[in-house]
């Protein structure tokens, strides 16, 4: 017998209009609902009963959102495109090889066959104290993310203080997408809107995305880079499955160096530098490494010790830079 899921209704809308109607109806009636794209991160969370819902809205009926297309200088990707489709698609392999590489780093082959790019950039922040079985969680006092009033990472924090939940952001694809200046289209009860991917992320580990309840991401618009080297490297104990303990993406275009981080803070971090502002290339790399390491406010919320994760940030940046320079020569 398996872990039991708490009772809920299953609905699968077939169009965005149908979805909006459902959401309006549920909001009026006060139902708790959640969207599921691939569900590979959501269903384990429902099984451990870290939150409860009345309505499970599967997005897989929205057929128009499974596609990869080239439109001018952009590749547009439907939010429900699976990660293995992106990893193997002709267009991403030609125009966005770094994205194809990063998608291949997400979880395991079976999960990539199911999980979607929209789900991956929307993945809920994780913490070693909340992503546990309900029995394990009952042994601690409930933390902020479990509607409690302590944080096991920032011991002095109490609910109502300025300290926010420190659950970390763990998407593998977001760093590369951020460096490719991705824009996302969001559909919802108030109509569609387009925002920069970077504006999606907030500082709080609980309320970590700026998306409103009832809104869904429909498409990603990714810039095709020119004369650019990109590199993504991930630190994880079990590479075939784990969320990143640290992920670093590096981009070099002419004199510009940019770095994006995942796994070490409540949101992804992006740092940019231009060679004209520095005496030497090495100065620029060490300066950006320092900024990135400062941003990585790691806590002991992972199986790697915090000092190790933090000290790996400059190492990964250096490796990324070296690998790009090697490819360019």
């Amino acid at each position: 017998m398996s872990l039991l899921l708490e009772n809920f209704d299953f609905v699968r809308p077939t169009s965005l209009e149908h979805l909006n109607d459902l959401v309006k109806d549920y909001q009026e009636k006060g139902h708790e609902f959640t969207f599921s794209a691939g569900g590979t991160a959501l269903i384990p969370k429902l099984k451990t009963q870290s939150f409860k819902i009345d309505k499970f809205i599967s997005l897989n009926g929205l057929k128009d959102l499974h596609n990869v297309k080239k439109e001018g200088f952009y590749i547009t990707i439907g939010a429900l495109t699976t990660l293995s489709t992106i990893a193997n698609h002709e267009l991403t392999r030609i125009y966005l090889p770094a994205l194809a590489h990063a998608t291949r780093k997400v979880a395991s082959p079976q999960i990539r066959n199911r999980a979607t790019i929209g789900g991956n950039i929307m993945v809920d922040n994780r913490c070693i104290y909340i992503n546990q079985s309900s029995i394990n969680r009952e042994c601690h006092s409930p933390c902020f993310k479990a509607d409690g009033d302590v944080c096991h990472l920032v011991k002095s924090a109490r609910r109502g203080d300025e300290v926010l939940c420190q659950a970390r952001f763990v998407s593998d694809t977001a760093p590369i997408l951020l460096l490719l200046n991705t824009k996302i289209t969001i559909a919802g009860p108030k109509g569609p809107r387009k925002i920069k991917l970077g504006d999606l992320y907030l500082n709080d580990g609980i309320d970590s995305k700026s998306i409103e309840p009832g809104e869904v991401i429909t498409t990603l618009e990714v810039e095709i880079p020119e004369n650019t080297g990109l590199h993504y490297e991930k630190l994880a104990i079990r590479n075939a499955l784990d969320f990143p303990s640290l992920g670093v993406a590096v981009r070099i275009t002419d004199k510009d160096l940019s770095v994006a981080l995942t796994g070490v803070n409540t949101r992804p971090g992006v740092f940019r530098a231009n060679l004209d502002d520095y005496n030497t290339f090495d100065d620029m790399v060490s300066n950006i490494s320092k900024q990135a390491a400062d941003f990585g406010k790691t806590y002991n919320q992972d199986f790697f010790p915090r000092a190790y994760r933090k000290s790996m940030i400059p190492v990964f940046i250096r490796r990324g830079v070296n690998s790009i320079l090697k490819d360019q020569t």
Binding site: L3, G39, K47, T48, S58, I111, N113
Partner: protein, 159 residues
């Protein structure tokens, strides 16, 4: 309760299922196909791998209602009658089965790999079984079995 229609190993099924039932529980408890195993129940061990429309996915972290209308292949559908699939034969020959708990998932992953690529590299074989945990064999014999099945399939195809 809702009515679910799907095809499992070539047989159509119409069954009532609760919204909260996972595909794994549906296969094991409702259809009595107990070849697919339940390991961690949270998508980490890979034991529950089945093919959905020919693509391996984890049945423990998927609701049965999600696979409405799809074609499912479980380990019971891999052999044709008494004729084992080359991957299954090779698993036996190379001693790649010990306790057997991961075997259904290993076979499903191996079959999917070889159906799309009958000359896989070492890395491709490793990647294909990377998400399925085996605590007995140490994986080497499983890798050997998949390579051996690949060469058998190549011979059968190209003579």
């Amino acid at each position: 309760m809702n009515i679910l229609k799907l095809t499992i190993n070539g047989v159509s099924h119409i069954k009532a299922v609760p919204a909260t039932m996972t595909l794994l529980d549906f296969l094991r408890d409702e259809i009595d196909l107990t070849g697919t195993k339940n390991g961690c129940d949270s998508g980490e061990c890979g034991c529950c791998t089945v093919m959905i429309n020919g693509v391996p996915m984890l049945s423990c972290i998927m609701l049965a209602r999600e696979v409405e209308g799809r074609v499912i292949t479980t380990i019971e559908g891999i052999a044709k009658g008494n004729h084992l699939h080359p991957v299954q034969e090779a698993m036996i020959e190379k001693g790649a089965i010990q306790c057997g708990y991961c075997t259904p998932a290993m076979v499903i992953n191996g079959v999917h790999l070889l159906e799309n690529n009958d000359n896989p590299s070492n890395d491709e074989v490793k990647e294909c079984i990377s998400a399925t945990v085996c605590r007995c064999t140490g994986y080497n014999s499983i890798e050997k079995a998949i390579h051996s099945a690949a060469s058998k399939m190549r011979k059968a195809k190209h003579g």
